[in-house]
């Protein structure tokens, strides 16, 4: 594997070119090509066995691709010296060394990123405070609860304010409150770096990400901005309670290209062309018609929702 020695200002934070990873005869990732723009919050989505963690592991340099090329900030992930301090990684299943104390471990890891002891100590204290763990400095890693350990793992990924942060299942196994808090920590980093998040939690990704790649059985099935993936700029859904369904009246609205009604889900789906009207204008026009026709509206949403889109695209 080789990678171009990209300039400091490469446009893409991460590039995959026809990347394949085989474990024996089985291809965990098969010919995936992808670009993640700098500064994006980007999701890696897919069911179990889709190849998310394998892709993530190759980006972090834990695994080497069987073929194809990967670049992080213009360098191969194995070029540790060039990427030192520029990439932060939260591996999904890497346990913190149990005998180490949290503060000493973070200082050690920060020093390996090139900081002197004073800066390393200051930065370790800063990131630990950011994950609300300032009081854990002298705690042994073995004494941390699952939620505390996850926060410390996140803290080590944020050491030195890296340009690219890879987060593999950052909220997996956490109770809803801690998961929410971890999400808030991640969201605070938006705009400061490129965040690539691998997760099963589609609501979480839809909420946090600007774009995403959907993987299935090792292949890339779709990638793009969240709006494109969910078709939020091309369709609007109206949930209707029992009562009249003025389908023909809706079809008669000028900005509507097509309208269908799913009787089982009692969902009216309105399709439109982005060039002619935006989603908000379509919602306003269709709502007017529905109210006039005495339809009982229980909900309105733009697009299909990431979950539904993933269900459609994956097996």
């Amino acid at each position: 594997m080789s990678a171009a020695k990209g300039p400091e200002s490469v446009a893409s934070a991460v590039v995959l070119r026809n990347v394949t990873k085989r474990f024996g005869a089985k291809a965990a990732v098969a010919g995936v090509s992808l670009r993640v723009p700098r500064g994006a919050v980007y999701g890696l989505i897919g069911p179990n066995g889709a190849g998310k963690t394998t892709t993530f592991s190759m980006l972090a340099g834990f695994l080497q691709p069987t073929s194809g090329e990967l670049e992080v900030l213009g360098f191969a992930p194995s070029e540790v010296d060039q990427l030192r301090g520029r990439i932060g990684v939260l591996p999904q299943d890497a346990v913190l060394p149990p005998g180490d104390r949290v503060g000493a471990l973070l200082v050690h890891l920060a020093r390996l990123q090139g900081m002197d002891r004073t800066d390393a100590t200051r930065d370790a204290q800063k990131v630990l405070a950011e994950v609300e763990g300032a009081g854990w400095w002298d705690t042994r890693c073995s004494a941390l609860s699952h939620g505390m350990a996850k926060r410390v793992q996140l803290a080590q990924a944020l050491l030195g304010s890296p340009e690219v942060v890879l987060l593999d299942e950052p909220t997996a196994g956490l109770d809803p409150r801690v998961a929410y808090e971890v999400r808030q920590i991640i969201v605070k980093r938006r705009g400061q770096c490129t965040l690539i998040i691998s997760s099963h939690n589609l609501h979480e990704l839809e909420e946090m990400c600007d774009g995403a790649a959907i993987l299935d059985q090792g292949r890339l099935v779709m990638a793009g901005a969240i709006g494109e993936l969910t078709a939020s700029a091309a369709e609007v859904r109206f949930d209707l309670a029992e009562g009249p369904v003025p389908l023909e009246a809706v079809r008669g609205v000028a900005v509507v290209d097509r309208a269908d009604f799913d009787a089982e889900r009692r969902e009216l789906i309105v399709y439109f062309t982005r060039d002619r009207a935006d989603a908000e204008a379509v919602i306003a026009d269709v709502l007017t018609v529905l109210l006039r026709e005495k339809a009982r509206i229980s909900g309105v949403s733009k697009g299909r929702g990431l979950e539904q889109r993933v269900m459609e695209l994956t097996r």
């Binding site: 592991s57 932060g88 890497a94 346990v95 060394p97």
Partner: protein, 275 residues
């Protein structure tokens, strides 16, 4: 950051981690107690022999005894050395392999087991991490044998009339002789530690390898087949104790080659493996 700096940081952590851990303290305690016990027993025997045979006879007996094991050249060179220090060196050499096994079996395997190694491989070259682990293990094992020797020297000075200069000069020289052997054993152990994700497997295979090499060495000695005795690093003392610079250099080379072989193989595998 230079690879040397990376290695130094990994070594620093290994020293702190091992010397403060319960395992490290227990191993150091066992070394010191074993060393002091052996020293006291040897001093007692040395006193009895000395009063029975006189200094001159003891000197020639000592020379002959060492010559039987290491040859005339070394026997003559070491004849002036207090027996207790020779016994201490022999004990340190015998201990070197086991100490390396117990200090280092989990040094890499422990990080591989739950993938903690991933916190390092994104920050250091894999070669720096691995060499740092090896050097750290060697430094910890050497620090423990030095501590054991230092305590024993104090006991020797307190319990015998051996001059301070003899104890320090001979003692330090003999401790230095154990270092290349210890370095070779540490390479063998780090090889197995880097091979397995389960520390207990690394422990068992390292101990088994040590046993196989020991038995091979024993067979070689018993059958006067000198060539196969070189598989056992503790046998390199035959060269390292020699007053001849050439032979001493050969001993260093043998230890270095043994260490390089296992460390090189381990490094090659570690570079290729999925972390």
């Amino acid at each position: 950051m230079s690879p040397l700096r990376e290695i130094a940081l990994v070594v620093e952590r290994e020293l702190v981690r091992n010397l403060r851990s319960a395992k490290g303290l227990v191993l150091a305690g066992i070394c010191v107690l074993g060393g002091v016990g052996t020293t006291l027993v040897t001093l007692s025997a040395q006193g009895r022999i000395g009063s029975k045979f006189g200094a001159e006879s003891v000197h020639s007996m000592r020379e002959e005894a060492i010559a039987q094991v290491y040859g005339k050249e070394i026997g003559k060179a070491l004849a002036g050395m207090p027996e207790v220090l020779f016994v201490l060196m022999s004990g340190t050499l015998a201990l070197a392999a086991l100490l390396a096994v117990f200090v280092g079996f989990d040094t890499v395997a422990g990080d591989l087991q739950h993938r903690a190694v991933r916190y390092w491989t994104v920050r250091t070259r894999r070669s720096s991490y691995f060499v740092g682990k090896y050097v750290g293990m060697f430094a910890v094992a050497s620090a423990m044998t030095l501590l054991m020797n230092l305590v024993c020297w104090v006991v020797i000075l307190a319990k015998s009339s051996i001059p301070v200069s003899d104890v320090v000069v001979w003692g330090f020289r003999l401790w230095l002789v154990t270092l290349p052997v210890s370095a070779a054993w540490c390479a063998l152990v780090v090889f197995f530690s880097g091979l397995f994700r389960t520390p207990i497997l690394a422990l068992l295979t390292s101990a088994f390898a040590w046993l196989v090499l020991l038995v091979t060495y024993g067979i070689g000695r018993a059958s006067d087949n000198d060539s196969i005795t070189w598989v056992h690093p503790s046998g390199f003392d035959r060269l390292l104790l020699s007053p001849s610079p050439d032979k001493f250099g050969l001993g260093l080379l043998a230890s270095g080659l043994f260490a390089a072989l296992f460390l090189g193989a381990a490094l090659l595998l570690f570079q290729q493996r999925d972390a």
